[in-house]
Amino acid sequence: MSDVYLDSSIVGYRARARRLGFVVFAAFGVLFLRLAQLQLVEGDALEAASSRNFVRTVKLPADRGTIYDRNGKVLAVNRPSFDLFVTPSQVKDLDALIDGLRAVLDLDELDLVHLRERIEEPRGMWRFRPFRIERDIDRKRVAVAEALRARVEGLSIRVRYQREYPEGIVGAHAVGYLGKPTAPELEADAEGRLSVDAMIGRFGLERRFESVLAGHDGFERYVVDARGARQDEGWAERAMSGIQSRQAPERGHDIVLTVDVEVQKILFEALANYESGAAVVVDPRDGTVRGIISKPSFDPNLWSGRLTPEAKRLIDESPYNPMLDKSVHAYFPGSVYKIVTALAALEEGVLDPDDPIDSPGSYEYGNRVFHCHKRSGHGSLDLNGAMAASADVYFYKLGEALGIDRLARYGRKFGFGARPGLGINGEAVGTVPTREHHDRVTKGGYQYGLALSTAIGQGDVRTSPLQMAMAYAALANGGSIFPARIVDRIQNEDGQVVSRYDSKPRSTLEASDEHIQAVSRALERAVNDAELATGHLAAVAGGRVAGKTGTAQVMEINRGRGRHDVKRFQNRDHAWFAGYAPYEAPKLVVVVFLEHGGSGGRDAAPVARRIIEAYHQRVEPVFSTSALNEPTRR
């Protein structure tokens, strides 16, 4: 056959066909290796990616634990809250839906137009996403919405937990509130426990005990298709095999506090006339906090997710700093600190309590003159008289004899310069100044005169009202320093105790009973001495209160522009009263701190008296007599 060529070129074609074959093999080799790489090497990762496509996980939020007071009164609790949602893709009759919503929501025509736009606007996958049109509707509206839901499609009601604080502003600082996690917190959350719409403890005990109260969220998983529509049958059912479809949420534990709501109310009422301050009531026998408030307060119900920008602005701009927990913030204590000086002097042997010491109106030391609050002076006084009259020169002399470092040692024995142990709201350490401290922070370094200021609670001394309460508790109980305890126990839903917080003294004053008695006796005089007592307005009829007033000078810091009333407020002295009752067998320690409140004797002492009286009448008898049932002198 002529057309069959058997010439030499056919050999060339064969070689080239083989060469093409090699190329083909090589290319298929690449394809196969790539296939194996994706299916075997990257298989697990891509299978996970595939699961992310079709598995939708819905969080089942855990019910947050309840916070109770010592008598079982609710301070913070979750309540179901109903939110209204619309899913655009499910809406069949938009007009009927909008019309029906008129009866559920207080919407004007413009709102309804906006709502209509929000339902019509979404495109693509967004149409399958429910969006919230109203949160936390009341029961009556829920009923109306349910009826509407039965008639028209596209509406849904979701239940969520809303934190509720039945006592409102009373004791808000200690209990705290919830808020959304911040962006950095979300980023740091490796376990994925948080979500954008989670509410976590932001303040107070809600924050401190977040891990106890929060519980563990559960989840529900189901299969969706590419449009986000739920699938339950066929492939979807088989795809779910091996995937946990539900994890029940675990409720958080409850917390029972040592605090008594009634005491909280008493503190609030007693401080009613003062804008800014704090008050603490502690049981000196075991260091438990019975009441702790800070003023001005805030409404945690609003702060837990319902705060309007306007309300927040008002609080942020308030000169009284409502969001600062003043009960654990450190301030100049003034004369309430004199217990440290007195006990130090007795223990160090530089003072005999019965020795009279001349206490004039001023004391010259080096090239400085140290004044007493009473410029005319007090004459010769023993410890009882000096404490009663709050004679500054008497204490200057003790300070001079002791030196600042010895004063500091006793300050620390009383628990100053250390956190009382509540663990909330940036609990202050305060300052117990030493020579080293002044060398570090004071211009010109330490000078011996600073020991004198420290002896009367000025200089650089800073203490918090809570620290002061624990210090006075130590005098009241014979020398034990307790850690401040506000949580009595953690228990589960059924009331079974999960853990209990013990009251164990963490240290003692390491002082002789005799000297502790001497200081206590002087404190009793400071309230009850007929002639000298600066704290006489704290005295109650029919019982004996021991305690000390303090009027801490505030440096005039505010000469510049500003609201006149604010400036006047900021330039007033801090008023303190710290004491306990009854003197013979103390049951409660009361500390009143009025920020820029004026005078300890005039302002803080009567507040303390009202607290003690009300405590006796409304909480538990403090005094053995019924004398207090008579109308008290006010």
Partner: protein
């Protein structure tokens, strides 16, 4: 031996066997699409395959010498159809690739591949250069190839333009060239790359190339298809998720899972074993084509066989390369596995050509 018996004896049963096996795999695979979508796409595909078998038989039966004679006429018709599709083609997603014949859509660019194969082979037969082709010989080849490529690019259909080019280059690779010609062509190719990128490629086509180079970019735009294909393939693992249980297909996450991305679908449900089997079938088909080429009794037959092998090869490489995220996303189908009438008939006709040539091969 009678002539008929001799003819039957020469039938390349391996090609037929591979085609039938591939067809069976594809119908099985598309059956799962039918489960997911509630359609009968697998049945329609089966009908096309059966019609395709008839076409294959018919093409195999006509002596290819006669096909060679009508090749120029066929070329003319294809060029006319390509021009026609630009004028009256059905516009889908911004491009005109389809002629609407009323009862069925028809893609002239598919026929263009066959026209190129037949006419290049024809030219090589008519212009033999035993010492190797010179540069000036390539001008008519370039024209023959360039006209349909230009028209297909206007649709625009980058995938098929490249397809035509690759088939042409593959057939040229089966020939000898003077060194100078070879160098010049390579140089021209390199030099033309820049203006091609700048002026010929459209933005979305560039996007697809860029997406491939940076797989993470824009997972919802150009990268979406590629990403979901990769997820489908990878999640199949060694043995696959099982027939009808491919979540990427059933859930609708994998787009075009019965056409361009059908291999991702198959890999998801049948795993490396199933996908590897399919790769092997294609490889054997191409090997069969190259064997037929080497055994062809003339240059026309040899080149047609190489062209058919190249058609299968490039379709497989471009399609699977795309599915495996090795190559950019182009609308190139996977022979016989992708659903689509024109595609199936074209491949079947090409298989018919292959059988035709092996039937009339040189017997030593």
């Amino acid at each position: 031996m009678t002539r008929a018996a001799a003819t039957v004896g020469r039938i390349d049963w391996s090609v037929i066997g591979l085609v039938v096996l591939l067809g069976a795999v594809s119908v099985f695979n598309l059956h799962s699409t039918s489960i997911a979508t509630g359609t009968t796409v697998y049945l329609r595909h089966l009908y096309w395959l059966l019609i395709g078998l008839v076409v294959m038989g018919a093409v195999a039966a006509i002596n290819y010498r006669n096909l060679q004679r009508v090749a120029p006429f066929f070329y003319g018709v294809v060029v006319l159809l390509l021009a026609l599709v630009l004028a009256v083609g059905k516009e889908v997603n911004g491009s005109r690739r389809w002629l609407d014949l009323g009862f069925v859509g028809f893609q002239p660019s598919e026929l263009a591949k066959l026209a190129i194969i037949l006419n290049l082979a024809n030219w090589f037969q008519r212009v033999p250069r035993p010492a190797g082709y010179a540069l000036r010989d390539l001008v008519p080849v370039a024209l023959l190839l360039g006209v349909p490529m230009f028209l297909v690019l206007q649709e625009p259909d980058l995938g098929h333009t490249l397809m035509l080019m690759f088939i042409g280059i593959s057939m040229l690779a089966y020939e000898r060239f003077e060194k100078r010609a070879l160098m010049t062509v390579l140089l021209l190719g390199l030099v033309s790359a820049v203006p091609l990128w700048k002026f010929v490629l459209r933005d979305y086509q560039k996007d697809r190339v860029l997406t491939l180079l940076d797989g993470k970019a824009d997972v919802h735009g150009a990268g979406w298809h590629a990403r979901q294909a990769r997820v489908a393939v990878g999640s199949g693992g060694l043995i696959g998720k099982g027939h009808g249980d491919g979540t990427q297909v059933a859930g609708g996450f994998l787009p075009e899972n019965h056409t361009d991305f059908v291999f991702a679908h198959l890999s998801e449900e049948l795993g490396l074993l199933g996908a590897g089997l399919v790769l092997a079938i294609y490889l054997l088909l191409i090997v069969a084509a190259l064997r037929s080429a080497a055994q062809a009794r003339d240059k026309f037959g040899g080149h047609v066989a190489v062209g058919v092998g190249a058609l299968i090869f490039w379709h497989v490489v471009m399609n699977i390369g795309m599915v495996l995220n090795l190559l950019p996303v182009t609308g190139v189908t996977l022979p016989l596995l992708s659903y689509g009438g024109t595609s199936v008939l074209t491949v079947m006709a090409a298989m018919g050509l292959l059988l035709n040539i092996s039937l009339r091969r040189t017997v030593f």
